[in-house]
């Protein structure tokens, strides 16, 4: 069966991963998941996904940012599209967020992400 594309979810919340996986799989995407940054990078090299959903705050508060930087530095991963997901909207926390670094990110989403929006975004990015 052909799918609309490969999507990798990197998030340490297994329930969130399951929900997104279910929604994406129902919409004919092939879904992989990783619970932390290094596992995610390993899976990226192995599976070459088209799109990565990346949680910012995992075991340490900027793990997602570090992953996106590692992707920038790796020519094999540089072209993978990235949607960064965060539970942070609080402006107090912005100081910790490295906005001055160039981030390899196509879009930011804030949890809770409406699934319709997530699916629409996935379809739009992968159609390009």
């Amino acid at each position: 069966m052909t799918t609309k594309g490969k999507v990798l979810i990197i998030d340490d919340d297994p329930d969130f991963v399951e929900v997104v996986r279910t929604a994406l799989e129902t919409d004919d995407f092939e879904v992989f998941s990783a619970a932390d940054g290094s596992q995610g990078l390993a899976l990226m090299r192995q599976e070459k996904p088209d799109l990565v959903f990346l949680d910012v705050m995992m075991a340490h508060p900027t793990e997602g940012v570090d992953v996106s930087e590692a992707m920038m530095e790796d020519p094999d991963l540089r072209d993978i599209r990235v949607v960064m997901i965060t539970a942070i909207t609080d402006t107090q926390y912005v100081g910790d967020f490295p906005t001055d670094r160039y981030l390899h990110v196509d879009q930011f989403l804030t949890k809770p992400v409406p699934l319709s929006e997530l699916l629409e975004l996935t379809n739009r990015i992968l159609k390009k």
């Binding site: 340490d12 329930d15 929900v19 279910t22 929604a23 942070i88 809770p112 699934l115």
Partner: protein, 459 residues
């Protein structure tokens, strides 16, 4: 130092002023003599007056040199004493010089005898009241000695020829009146100048006292402000963490419902997803409960005094009953070991229940099936000692200092139980410390953990 002795500090500054003033006096006297000579030639004896003025100039020059040599010293008590003695010497010499000048210029007949007043004013400004009265006494004595010695013919009298009656100095009543008038004037001047000076100094001291206490107060406020800012920063950080911890499960529950309601999942998946949502909601309730407990632990400090003595053993038995099923379900051996007649501690039973429950449920959570958990209660002369030991996964050395932090969870703990709150040990530590106790942990990765806490026994 100078602030503590304003009078002396002023003295040090005024010494320079005194020396400058003396140069002016030298020039002024010279000019006076020249002018008087041009209008009344032969009235004044030039040479002794000039010699006296030269002597004044000479000692003033020496004073000038001495003052310069004093200056490099830091303002120590020694310097203050030196300056005081220096001022005494100068004022005494000036009085002698003035008397000498008067003697060679008519003595008691010379109207410039009033210059003594300037000298005692200067003394009153510079010196303590006692020293000022001594200066007035010296001035009066010198003036009286000169007048009486001239009157008695023991020293020569130089008449201001043509200006006053040449026999005036021999009029006993005039001489006596002059001497008494001079003495009374000088003492009154010292009295007035000193009391005005004392009042001014008192006010200066008051002002300095006020400014000093203001300074101390503003420094105190600054420190308090810094402390508050630090507290506020810690609170903000806590709020951010709590918000994140609360938001994550809510977001997941929302997504689960979104998946079902939006029809993004198949029928058979829906049931599964709703179960997930329910589990997360249960965990969320757990977290909220822990947060409430933590808040209470943060506030409990105030209540310590009101706590009744309780038996920790009773609390432990209760908790044991509640947790036993959970332990057995996981195939863990839970043993409770209480020594005979442990003394009571002063604490609220619900707080101590939180301590035992958190420690034992942690042990259950992080010990593999087949493991052993021992909760024990002993005491020494001053403390009741509780221990919870397990054969579980243990804690890595680098994590040991952090496990009591709010929301801190080790990587191992996350792997075994992804949805813990990381608040339990923070609650335990707060509770124990609130009641004047302490808690510590011995552990090694893979070698189990041992939590020990001590509480002061109730007296």
């Amino acid at each position: 130092m100078e602030e503590q002795f304003p009078l002396q500090a002023e003295l040090i500054e005024r010494i320079d002023w005194l020396i400058s003033l003396r140069w002016l006096a030298v020039v002024g006297t010279l000019l006076t003599i020249v002018v008087v000579n041009s209008y009344f030639p032969g009235l004044l004896l030039q040479s002794p007056l000039m010699t006296t003025i030269a002597a004044i100039a000479l000692y003033n020059f020496l004073f000038f040199l001495y003052a310069r040599q004093l200056r490099p010293h830091v303002s120590t008590v020694l310097r203050l004493r030196q300056s005081t003695v220096f001022a005494y010497v100068q004022i005494a010499l000036d009085l002698i010089a003035l008397t000498t000048l008067l003697h060679f210029a008519g003595g008691v007949e010379n109207p410039f005898a009033l210059f003594f007043i300037f000298h005692v004013i200067i003394a009153s400004i510079l010196l303590s009241p006692t020293a000022s009265f001594l200066a007035a006494l010296l001035a009066s004595s010198l003036f009286a000695a000169m007048a009486f010695l001239e009157y008695g013919g023991l020293i020569p009298h130089y008449n201001l020829v043509g200006l006053v009656d040449p026999d005036l100095y021999r009029h006993g009543s005039y001489v006596l009146a002059s001497v008494l008038g001079m003495a009374i004037t000088l003492f009154l001047v010292v009295y007035m100048t000193s009391s005005i000076g004392a009042r001014l100094r008192a006010r200066t001291n008051e002002l300095m006292e006020v400014s000093r206490s203001h300074e101390a107060k503003s420094q105190e406020l600054e420190e308090l402000n810094a402390k508050l800012q630090k507290l506020d920063a810690a609170r903000t950080k806590f709020m951010v963490t709590v918000t994140h911890e609360l938001r994550a499960p809510v977001a997941t529950i929302y997504s689960c419902l979104d998946l079902v309601l939006g029809g993004f999942a198949s029928r058979e998946k829906e049931q599964q997803v709703l179960e997930r949502a329910q589990r997360r909601a249960t965990e969320l309730l757990e977290l909220v409960k822990d947060l409430l407990e933590l808040t209470e632990a943060r506030q409990a400090e105030v209540e310590v005094e009101e706590a009744e003595p309780i038996q920790l053993a009773d609390v432990l038995h209760n908790v044991d009953e509640l947790m036993r099923v959970e332990a057995e379900n996981k195939d863990l051996f839970l043993s409770v070991d209480i020594d005979t007649a442990p003394p009571p501690v002063r604490a609220k039973p619900e707080h101590m229940k939180a301590v035992w429950t958190n420690l034992i449920s942690n042990a259950i959570k992080y010990t593999e099936p087949g493991g052993i958990i021992v909760a024990s209660l002993t005491h020494d002369s001053d403390h009741v000692i509780g221990v919870v030991r397990d054969t579980g996964i243990g804690i890595a050395a680098e994590d040991l200092p952090r496990v009591f932090e709010e929301f801190y969870r080790t990587a191992n703990a996350r792997a075994i139980s992804p949805q813990g709150t990381g608040v339990g040990l923070a609650i335990v530590k707060r509770m124990i410390e609130n009641y004047g106790g302490k808690i510590w942990l011995e552990s090694e990765l893979g070698q189990g953990s041992k939590f020990t806490f001590m509480l002061p026994r109730a007296r």
